[in-house]
Symmetry: none
DNA sequence: GTGGTCTAGACCACG
DNA sequence: GTGGTCTAGACCACT
């Protein structure tokens, strides 16, 4: 599990875990029926309380991305989003963002600039 | 004040109020030295606790977007640097879009690409 | 909140809470937009950890039976199941039970007797 | 052994196995002194851990439904009091039906009424 | 005051 | 070993 928790992130920790695992699943870093690290392993590795990891796993199960085999572990579901569907998703999210930008009298360039700025917090502090 | 509060929005209500008023100011719906609705009016209209509205107004004052005349009310400041405020609006919209992208396991690049693609309907795109 | 937790019940506590509140809502003991006891109140009253109550409330929210107003409390949603729909529900549950009974070579009488027996654990111990 | 394990079922797997075998015995699909599949066969067939199957067999032995001939296998006992076993089957089916009814805010009476109604299609009921 | 998140532990049934 | 439930407490943002 090659990711870290950013305690300065505004997102709750369990949401960060969900986002990262979701990314790994959709990107293929985690394949169908592959086991996720156990709640305890992940908790040790990320230096978190097992409950926090468990919360993330449970939400992922509710989302339908993973399934649980009792007494065994948590596994990636098969039959998840194809890349075709991902294009649609991107389209949907993008159009929502554009609509919101228009409502705020923002140009596309301003929106894109803000997104790029937000997503690489390397240079200087924002706000 | 033609706007609504979305209690299912992730943003706190006072932030929603701030964003909406900022938007109105930047777009010209509220002009310099024009009075905002009183805290109580706004609270009744939006069915909110007056404290929540007051918090929003106070933050807007700290940001320098409005000023208070004690005993009279709250007014839009003149000489607002619209570009600065637009940045804040962009920041807000961008972070909401980013969160939505993450929830759908989209990378920043994919999101930006989709936005740019959608906003340039030159090359014969459908819909 | 006129109900108790049965620690000898096989159901987890938070499920018991959910079942009872669901019952109260559908039966009219809790009306639309009426507030549920706060997590802490309920926890004190039932002598439970607040987290346990919170878990029940969150699940009920996910089920769409209640909604949360942040900073205020938890409320009964309006527009919940009519009695018409309840008949359908009863029909569905009953037919599932009957099918399962048939699969086990049980007569209707045996099934009904077992249900009645299970639901009134007054007389003697079962099994 | 024509049955399947439902990993989404609330019942533990070893209980599901027990219920199914009990059902087969009561219904006559398994006759006295007939051999059950070996633990390993069953485990392979149902894709389960042999320990799980062994646990089910052990419990069935404790219940007096089967007996073990060491080095040979597990066999159905003769002289089983079918009525007693039917009660257990009824108990299981009834408790599942009750749980489902509770999840849908149905009272016991409503459930029983629906069952009786469904099972007596004398008075011109539809469907 | 409210619910939301998190930690540090515990015990349990299941496999 | 696994995940599920529960307790006892803490801090947080929001209203």
């Amino acid at each position: 599990m090659p990711f870290k928790i950013d305690s300065s992130d505004v997102r709750p920790i369990y949401i960060q875990i969900m986002d990262e695992i979701r990314r790994l699943i959709v990107r293929g870093g985690l394949k169908p029926d592959e086991a996720l690290p156990s709640v305890r392993q992940m908790a040790v590795q990320l230096r978190l309380n097992p409950n926090t990891v468990a919360q993330a796993y449970k939400e992922l199960e509710r989302e339908g991305l993973v399934y649980v085999r009792r007494g065994f572990g948590t596994y990636v579901k098969s039959g998840i989003r194809s890349s075709r569907e991902k294009e649609k998703l991107a389209h949907t999210v993008a159009s929502m963002a554009l609509a919101e930008a228009r409502r705020n009298a923002l140009t596309v360039d301003e929106l894109v600039a803000a997104i790029l700025n937000l997503s690489k917090p390397e240079s200087g502090v924002n706000e």
